[in-house]
């Protein structure tokens, strides 16, 4: 069963009642909200996501709700909650949807320490994955969005989840939040991409969410083997540069771009070492998305056979 099998009314009732159970890759969530605007966005953007079996343990219980008590009449706000706790300052009600999306990432980043969590986008084709470890602002979400609308499967735009037992990447194909200029860039690049409403003046500027292609969501339980590390950097008007990177440098860049490298200690060192050994690493500087996608397509074709 997927979210799309529920009518808008059923979805709203679940959100306002016991909660809407959703499966995002390795994680089961239960989302509650008494905000009508949130239900509308969720109905559009979560449509292809599966609901977990009723007998499955839910990992994170989150909510985005109007504050209780007097405050709800003073200012229209939305509070992000997890397990009945409200750790952050309230958001304006217009930003409820991006706030919940961000809150879910916060839950993953602070709780899923049984996995190595690289700060990295990831895509896959023919069973081989590219990881794009990068700092915010290097354009990994934009590049990743372009790739998943060009025949690659989305693993994640934010989390490189590595399973310690076998070094495989676990997909977490969540909505991709594009920021500011990237939104227009992607609209031009693939007019058919499903992009949600633009949320203005959030804590990160204007944000709009791209829904990953249905195939990526359907195959969310299919782990992928890492094959390449590509360190992207978007530079205005720069000519395409795609250069091999020494393994020692790549190692440092992966280890320093992780959410929990220190927490996993020796396991993290072992996993990153193995990945760097078995992957080829490149640095990519680009200004034009078509050129960048072309270079990565070429890379995957050249390694065939």
């Amino acid at each position: 069963m997927i979210v799309g099998d529920l009518s808008r009314r059923e979805l709203g009732e679940r959100l306002a009642g016991e909660g809407l159970a959703l499966q995002f890759g390795p994680f089961n969530l239960r989302i509650r909200s008494n905000l009508d605007s949130f239900a509308t966005h969720a109905h559009q953007l979560y449509e292809p996501y599966p609901l977990p079996d009723a007998t499955e343990i839910v990992d994170f219980h989150v909510q985005i709700s109007a504050p209780s008590g007097l405050r709800r009449w003073v200012r229209r706000q939305a509070c992000f909650g997890v397990d009945g706790q409200f750790p952050f300052a309230p958001y304006t009600v217009e930003h409820a949807f991006p706030a919940l999306e961000w809150g879910i990432n916060w839950c993953v980043g602070t709780r899923a320490h049984y996995l190595l969590m690289l700060h990295s986008a990831g895509v896959e084709r023919d069973g081989r994955a590219i990881l794009f470890p990068a700092s915010p602002g290097d354009g990994k979400s934009t590049l990743c969005t372009a790739l998943v609308h060009s025949g690659w499967r989305l693993l994640s735009d934010e989390f490189g989840l590595v399973r310690p037992e076998d070094g495989m990447l676990l997909p977490l194909p969540r909505l991709i939040p594009l920021k500011n200029e990237s939104i227009e860039v992607i609209r031009k690049f693939r007019p058919q991409a499903v992009i949600g409403p633009s949320f203005l003046k959030t804590r990160k500027g204007t944000v709009a969410h791209v829904r990953p292609p249905v195939d990526s969501i359907r195959r969310a339980q299919e782990a992928a083997r890492p094959r390449w590390f590509v360190f992207p950097r978007w530079v205005a008007d720069a000519p395409l540069s795609f250069e091999p990177m020494p393994k020692s440098q790549a190692f440092l860049m992966v280890a320093t771009n992780a959410f929990n490298y220190e927490v996993l200690d020796e396991t993290a060192f072992r996993l990153v070492t193995e990945m760097i050994r078995s992957c080829d690493s490149y640095s990519l500087i680009y200004s034009d998305l078509d050129e960048a996608v072309g270079a990565l397509d070429e890379l995957s074709r050249a390694s065939d056979g």
Binding site: I57, V58, D83, T110, A112, H113, Y114, V263
Partner: protein, 381 residues
């Protein structure tokens, strides 16, 4: 009313049964696991459940999702242990040449003395007890060697320095670990007298002779004083602290003379009331084996009838987390009452009124409590 209390009772029963009999956990149905994971996270005992199940070799028999959450807690705890041990190592380096005994308190002490409560316990920061007259020298040296005084407003700084039992926390520039330096176990303003001198005299040295931990009885008493007098109005009483006490009693209770000396030591330090409450509730909640004559010997430390009956009701309410989706108003009230009681014991009424009205003024003006993301992250385990 009874029906609405059901989820609360179910959450508490699950948590207590898990702590008391972890060997039963593999048989738990998934829906119960889901709730147990949530309340155990709130009470910060996920790591303890993991360590108990690991020792019983039962981790492989759990639902994979439950095992994953426990594994995550373990990984964070192991990492914190490394950080805290390293911070103590750096402290010893920084304080070289200053001849002062450092008594490691709470988690840091359990860890370095390799005591049972350290198993599966989360370690937030390093807690030290040092003689008050040496604090200036120690603080100055640490600031020279890379630690800095965390930024707090002048009111809070004065609050610490004039009234409290510790100085504002120090934090290392690169490592970010916090050090809390105490000179006594309770605020200077507290109703309970708390002369720290006997604690120093009885402290026991660790392998490195500059490091000490409190003597067994003092360690139990400190854990209880911390539990009952360092409340947080939202969190209530920290179940985690009572679990520590249970572990310490089971461990030190084997030592000859421990039980006979416990109540007299509590009288000497003025901590007989916290000991009375602690033993009573450890036994009620966890079935801690406590000799009957020790409890009888503490009968004179019990509060008078109406207060005693009230506290018997309030303490478990404030200790045990409820159901996260069905907050209980009664428990919220109990947590608040216990918090006010703790403050009442920490400060004389005039000062308390001044302090609380200052805090209320800040809230009214809209200053939210600063969200410390690092501390918040730790609470997710």
């Amino acid at each position: 009313m009874a029906k609405r209390d059901d989820p609360t009772r179910r959450a508490r029963r699950l948590l207590l049964e898990a702590l008391r009999a972890p060997e039963q956990l593999p048989a738990l149905p998934p829906a119960d696991w889901e709730l147990l994971l949530r309340v155990a996270r709130r009470a910060r005992v996920l790591g303890r459940l993991e360590s108990a199940l690991d020792r019983a070799n039962l981790l492989g028999k759990l639902p994979p999702r439950a095992a994953a959450h426990l594994r995550a807690a373990r990984n964070v705890i192991e990492h914190r242990k490394t950080l805290i041990s390293w911070e103590v190592n750096r402290l010893l380096w920084a304080l070289k040449g200053i001849e002062v005994p450092l008594i490691l308190l709470k988690g840091t002490g359990y860890l370095l003395a390799m005591l049972p409560p350290a198993r599966g316990r989360i370690f937030a920061d390093v807690d030290l007890l040092v003689p008050e007259e040496r604090i200036g020298e120690i603080e100055e040296r640490l600031v020279e060697r890379g630690w800095f005084k965390t930024e707090i407003d002048p009111y809070d700084d004065r609050y610490y320095r004039v009234w409290m039992h510790e100085i504002p926390p120090l934090r290392h520039r690169e490592r970010g670990t916090e050090i809390d330096i105490h000179h006594r176990l309770l605020p200077k303003t507290s109703h309970l007298k708390s002369d720290p001198a006997p604690l120093f005299a009885a402290a026991r040295p660790l392998a490195d002779p500059r490091l000490r931990v409190l003597a067994p009885a003092d360690m139990v008493l400190h854990a209880l004083v911390h539990l009952f007098l360092e409340g947080d109005p939202d969190e209530g009483l920290r179940l985690r602290d009572l679990v520590d006490v249970h572990d310490l009693l089971c461990h030190h209770g084997q030592e000859p003379g421990f039980w006979a000396g416990l109540a007299p030591r509590a009288h000497e330090l003025g901590f007989q009331r916290p000991l009375f409450y602690g033993l009573r509730h450890a036994q009620r909640l966890f079935g801690t084996p406590i000799p009957a004559d020790v409890l009888r010997g503490l009968a004179d430390a019990a509060p008078a009838w109406p207060i005693g009956a009230l506290m018997d009701r309030l303490i478990p309410l404030a200790l045990l987390p409820g159901h996260p989706d069905h907050p209980s108003r009664l428990a919220t009230l109990a947590r608040w009452l216990i918090y006010v009681r703790a403050h009442w014991l920490r400060m004389p009424p005039g000062l308390l009124a001044k302090h609380l009205s200052h805090k209320a003024w800040l809230r009214f003006r809209g200053f939210r409590k600063r969200v410390d993301l690092a501390q918040l992250d730790l609470k997710q385990q």
